[in-house]
Amino acid sequence: MKEKFKEEQNIFSNKTDEQLVALTLKNPEAYAFLVGRYEEKLLRYVMRISRSTKEDGEDILQDVFLSAYKNLNDFDQALKFSSWIYRITHNKVISHFRKVTARPKTTTYEGDSNLLNILASDEDLARELERKYTVAEVKGVLEKLDERYREVLVLKFLEEKDYKEISDILEKPMGTVATLISRAKKQFKEKTEEGSSKEEKIGGI
């Protein structure tokens, strides 16, 4: 069994995502390699945008991969496979939280320790972050943002997607994506300022 897997791994590891989609339609076992490529990225994405627990995130992910498998013939060749699977994930997260009215308590993805550096790589945000916020503070601000703003910031700065990919994932025109990112940055700055003025007040007392 292990040998067979290794053999398949050799065949499939050099294939592009799109080639793996075509192969999966002939041989379902090829799908394991697509899942393997995306499960960690998508779990991180689910947890970042939904603030769900790891267990919830894994449940959503199961649903995402099953749904993607069922809809493989609907995969739009005009898109990157990654954009397509991120789109399915985005939709599943939304429908999951429509079903569950109460949100779970905030949890954060352990891999976000360099969150501050990533967000600071953007010139505008870097200026706001000059005050050397702690990672926890930045996370706190992100969690206070409106969902749609948090999601575009996560996609742009944490998932490192370009405008076209974000447009494909959220199914919004590129102009709308640009506006959302700009507003998200603005709200991010406002929230960081709010946070710092509160701290100053507390310090004054």
Partner: protein, 263 residues
């Protein structure tokens, strides 16, 4: 193999999950396109009806009503058709945002192009007479359509301003009849012209009258027209047929006279 991929493969195998066939997605995409185009076409038909109603509206009675032109236009607009037109555009927009890759196009350009296309087709349909045909069919077959289409009562029920509408309940003689207005009040109507048009004045007929109020129950008519557009058309056809007959007769007489003269 990771735990998640292993679980997924197991689920796929256990539940016999298979990718949906491609044709299903093609049919779905085709249906959305079809609904988008259909919404635009129905919108175009609505626009042609709207144009037809506006063109054939009683614009001449504006001078009798003591209202500003804007007030008159607002009273005269067929709001049902305007609402329907807006509804079909909304449906077209809804369909459009479900078309695959819709967000890659400039939305305002698509919206403008759709409106332009729909209005363009609407104009063609209007000149082809589709608007008129639809309006007639609805008038004939849908109860209350005529009342909902334009609030004629608000336009015509102003005896003090020389406008009266209602149903002829009794024809008294050649130039006098009794009319019941929408409020149920009965009016003695006299035709100011020498003789009433017998094609229009029949018991049970709905008519619109321009004239003047003589006293609280008497009205003098200067012009009487059919309230029902369909019958108005039949009336025009009858008139045209009579005129054609007369012309033919005149021609026959002329030919006879000429032949007699030549003999």
């Amino acid at each position: 193999m990771t735990k998640i991929s292993e679980n997924i493969l197991k689920t796929i195998e256990a539940q016999h999950v298979k990718p949906e066939p491609k044709w299903k997605f093609l049919v779905k995409d085709g249906l959305i396109w079809f609904m988008f185009v259909a919404a635009l076409l129905v919108g175009a038909l609505s626009f042609s009806v709207l144009l037809d109603i506006i063109v054939r509206h009683d614009w001449d009675i504006y001078f009798y009503l003591h209202k500003t032109f804007l007030q008159y236009v607002l009273l005269s607009l067929p709001y049902v058709w305007i609402a329907l037109l807006a509804l079909f555009f909304a449906v077209a927009y809804y369909d459009f945002i479900h078309i695959r890759g819709w967000y890659r196009h400039r939305v305002y350009l698509v919206v403008l192009a759709s409106i332009f296309l729909s209005f363009g087709c609407g104009l063609i349909f209007f000149f082809a007479g589709f608007g008129k045909t639809i309006d007639r069919a609805l008038t004939k077959n849908v109860p209350f359509y005529e009342k909902v289409k334009i609030n004629k009562e608000q336009l015509w029920n102003h005896p003090d301003q020389g406008l009266l509408e209602g149903e002829i309940v009794e024809v008294k003689n050649e130039n006098e009849f009794v009319l019941e207005d929408p409020s149920g009040k009965q009016w003695e109507v006299q035709d100011a012209s020498i003789q009433m048009n017998k094609d229009v004045i029949n018991q049970g007929e709905n008519v619109e009258i321009i004239g003047g109020e003589k006293d609280s129950n008497d009205f003098v008519a200067k012009s009487i027209r059919e309230a029902d557009n369909e019958r108005e058309d039949e009336f025009i056809k009858k008139k045209e047929a009579t005129r054609a007959k007369k012309n033919n007769k005149a021609q026959e007489i002329e030919i006879e006279v000429q032949s007699e003269l030549s003999q």
